[in-house]
């Protein structure tokens, strides 16, 4: 998944250092990557930003058995401009938005958007804010809308908000308001070579874990 | 209305440096292919900026190289008939003809119907230029320029693509422009007849320079200046239309000498100019008898100029003016022609080309 660029930028050299294997990272949206795998892409390992695409490949028999695990987790937050006051996630949300838009990723298509819509729905806020939701094509674009002041609020991952100096977290969605946000990783069927295994091992190791936590990801138990 | 032109321009391989005055009337630019006629037209019309010189119409400066004046073409309002027709392909013939009128000041309207009739393009009005023949295009281009109510007309070989009868229909129109409408015309032509008939002034060009400039009678009557070949030599004489005879001949009075020509469509009293080509004149030392030629002008040989070939150009002073006769050197010797010898100039009525008879410029 493209949102793992930072993490992979750090993990790849470290992995090479540790194991001598070279790592070629192809960064693109999970859907594009999954389709490429379906079309026969010569990839060894797939890391998805959500479970659906991994499930999809799994169902198609393209995932090597027993290699799938959850690499990282994330939290969903409400981001506002730098220095903005905390926001309460209740009926006052529409008032807080005023005329402005609530920036989200595509609510029916992109993971962050799907989680966000679920969270707002479970909080009973979706119907009220829905007309004001501006859906970006991915969560980074939604974040940019907030960072640039085009939208007063946006629903993004905690990792994104942490890394963007121009925004502050104004609220965090309760973890039970949406499905768990997980980044599953797995080797691909027919590509379970030594290097793939080594990489999956490495990802589960402490060094990778440290990188991920430093970037704000949670580590699944 | 007079045009004053001084131009200097260098193309790679062709240098132009000339000056001439075009007094009211028709000034014909005469010269061989490539001598610079169209270039002069372009410069006067404002379609090119010469390296230097000055162009003024009626004292109004159109271009001045030193004072960096260069009036854009649309403010000069000169009706240009281009050597190629340059019709607007997306407009019908009628729209092409109407084109100039929208930008012209009101009034002084040329009569469209009359121009269309003269040019014989009535049946073509609804067509696009792409569906016209070469000569039809040329005629529409003439009409378009005439109908734009220009201050002056620049015509670059307007009749070259036309047949003789059609030329004969259109030429009088240019004459009328010259005489009645007072629109000055700068006219390029290769045809001696057109030149003789229309020109008030002739400017003979050679290689970007003015070879000779003067009235039509002077330049064409000058046995040594025959810029486009020997057949352009001829005298231009003036006469008054005396009477129309019932047999269709018109009688002219050239300083007391009666001349008979095929019917001239003017009222008696009109001043007429005739071009008598040198090769159409015979000379006789005795008054010829029993001959079909009706015009016999007594005169005296003024000069005999042998040519490079077998010909000789004999200048004869008659009461009607100086006449040129191109005869063979053999005849000149046989008849003993020399300055002072009395002779009869014999001219057939029908030999005077219809293109060569016109109304004198006022």
């Amino acid at each position: 998944a493209a949102s793992l660029k930072d993490a992979m930028d750090r993990i790849a050299p470290a992995f090479h250092e540790a194991t001598g294997h070279d790592l070629a990272v192809s960064l693109a949206g999970s859907s594009a990557l999954a389709r490429q795998i379906e079309a026969g892409a010569p990839a060894d390992v797939f890391i998805s930003a959500n479970e659906t695409w991994m499930d999809h490949l799994d169902d198609a028999g393209l995932i090597a058995a027993d290699t799938r695990f959850d690499l990282a987790g994330n939290a969903l937050v409400m981001a506002g401009p730098d220095g903005a006051a905390p926001v309460v996630l209740d009926d006052t949300l529409t008032a807080t938005l005023g005329e402005g838009k609530l920036a989200m990723a595509l609510v029916d298509a992109v993971p962050a958007g799907i989680y966000g819509k679920a969270a707002l729905s479970s909080l009973g806020l979706w119907d009220a804010v829905a007309p004001q939701v501006a859906q970006a094509d991915n969560v980074r674009a939604a974040l940019a809308l907030v960072a640039m002041g085009a939208a007063p609020l946006g629903i993004v991952y905690a990792t994104d908000a942490a890394a963007e100096p121009r925004v502050d977290v104004v609220a965090t969605f309760p973890a039970d308001s949406h499905d768990a946000i997980l980044y599953p990783a797995a080797a691909l069927a027919g590509h379970e070579g030594a290097a793939a295994a080594a990489f999956l091992d490495y990802l589960q190791g402490d060094e990778a874990g440290a990188v991920l936590t430093e970037l704000g990801f949670t580590l699944p138990q | 209305m007079s045009l004053s032109v001084r131009l200097r321009h260098d193309f790679p391989g062709f240098a132009m440096d000339l000056a001439f005055e075009a007094p009211p009337g028709v000034t014909v630019l005469f010269g061989r292919s490539g001598s610079g006629k169209s270039t002069v037209m372009r410069a006067v019309a404002g379609l090119m900026r010469p390296d230097g010189g000055r162009v003024a119409l009626e004292g109004r400066t159109l271009f001045d190289g030193d004072r960096r004046i260069h009036l854009p073409p649309h403010r000069r309002r000169l009706g240009v008939i281009f050597q190629e027709a340059r019709l607007f392909p997306h407009l019908s013939v009628a729209e092409n003809l109407r084109y100039g009128a929208r930008f012209a000041p009101r009034g002084g309207a040329e009569d469209t119907a009359r121009v269309v009739e003269m040019l014989g393009i009535g049946a073509l009005l609804g067509r696009r230029p792409g569906a016209l023949s070469g000569g039809e295009k040329a005629r529409v281009a003439i009409g378009r320029a005439l109908l734009s109510r220009p201050r002056m007309i620049l015509a670059d070989e307007p009749l070259a693509a036309l047949d003789a009868p059609r030329k004969a229909e259109i030429l009088p129109y240019f004459e009328r422009l010259r005489d009645e409408a007072g629109v000055p015309v700068l006219y390029v032509s290769h045809a001696a007849e057109e030149v003789a008939r229309l020109a008030t002034t002739v400017v003979a060009l050679e290689n970007g320079r003015v070879l000779r400039q003067g009235s039509a009678a002077e330049v064409l009557g000058d046995a040594r200046v025959m810029p486009t070949g020997v057949r352009s030599a001829g005298a231009v004489i003036e006469a008054v239309l005396h009477a129309h005879h019932p047999d269709g001949l018109s009688e002219l009075d050239a300083a007391g000498i009666a001349l008979f020509l095929p019917c001239i469509d003017r009222a008696p009293g009109a001043r007429i100019r005739l071009r008598i080509a040198a090769q159409d004149v015979m000379l006789a030392t005795a008054r010829p008898q029993d001959i079909s030629a009706l015009n016999l002008l007594p005169g005296t040989v003024a000069a005999v100029l042998p040519g490079q070939g077998p010909g000789a150009m004999v200048t004869v002073d008659t009461a009607a003016g100086r006449i040129l006769a191109r005869i063979t050197g053999r005849s000149a010797r046989a008849l003993g022609l020399a300055p002072g010898v009395p002779v009869w100039a014999v001219i057939k009525s029908v030999a005077v080309a219809p293109g060569g008879i016109g109304v004198s410029p006022p």
Partner: protein
């Protein structure tokens, strides 16, 4: 109606509106820019030329970001325009603007090509007949470059029908307001199994664009006959 839901119909209608206005609104500045590039020599000509091509060179997302930076609700220019009643951010008008910007290089290039092919001798003839420069343009140049304008327009329209990256970045994806066909198609493609729904929309999009294309061919033949003068 059967196989398209109301939201999808809304996307079709919106896309048509966006593409039409993107094309229509970019024609006047496009003709002007093409004329300036083809005919005038002025300082900054190459800069204008570069600017015109920029949306072609930049990844669409970047163009979208730049539009957002320039015309977003917080941007000074965006505010100035807002006070004039011109709001682009998160509106269909913004989608049209993004599509127009993306199609602009195509429009300008086609028209410029046509202008450069106009026979200058006809424009000269027009000037000698008394037409001032604007009239030369309106009565001679413009009619003669109609084929180029038509080509430019159909390219701009088609591009607008397909534009996605700059649009979604600039005006997001708001159903009924900025959710054009490509945005809807993209959304469908993000979920496994969305291909069939995406395909339906692709089919609609292609059908609309093909109809426009056919129309332009017919118009083109008519225009070509005029210009050929037959």
């Amino acid at each position: 109606m059967g196989w398209l839901g109301p939201e999808e119909w809304a996307a079709v209608a919106l896309s048509l509106k966006v593409a039409f206005w993107a094309m229509a609104a970019s024609l006047p500045p496009g003709i002007l820019a093409a004329y300036a590039l083809a005919r005038w020599r002025f300082p900054g000509r190459q800069i204008l030329n570069g600017l015109v091509h920029l949306p072609l060179i930049l990844p669409p997302v970047v163009t979208g970001y730049l539009l957002l930076l320039a015309l977003g609700p917080q941007a000074p220019l965006g505010r100035a325009l807002e006070s004039l009643g011109l709001v682009f951010a998160f509106r269909w008008s913004g989608a049209a603007l993004a599509a127009a910007v993306m199609g602009f290089p195509l429009l300008v290039r086609a028209i410029r090509l046509s202008i450069e092919a106009v026979d200058p001798r006809l424009e000269e003839a027009s000037a000698t007949l008394g037409a001032p420069p604007w009239a030369v343009f309106a009565t001679v140049t413009l009619p003669l470059i109609l084929p180029g304008i038509l080509t430019g327009a159909i390219l701009a329209f088609a591009k607008a029908m397909g534009e996605f990256g700059a649009t979604i970045t600039f005006v997001s994806n708001i159903p009924g307001q900025t959710r054009t066909l490509p945005s809807a198609i993209y959304a469908f493609l993000q979920v496994p199994g969305g291909e069939a729904a995406a395909l339906r929309l692709v089919a609609v999009s292609v059908a609309v664009a093909m109809a426009a294309l056919l129309l332009s061919e017919v118009a083109g033949r008519w225009v070509a006959r005029r210009v050929a003068g037959a």
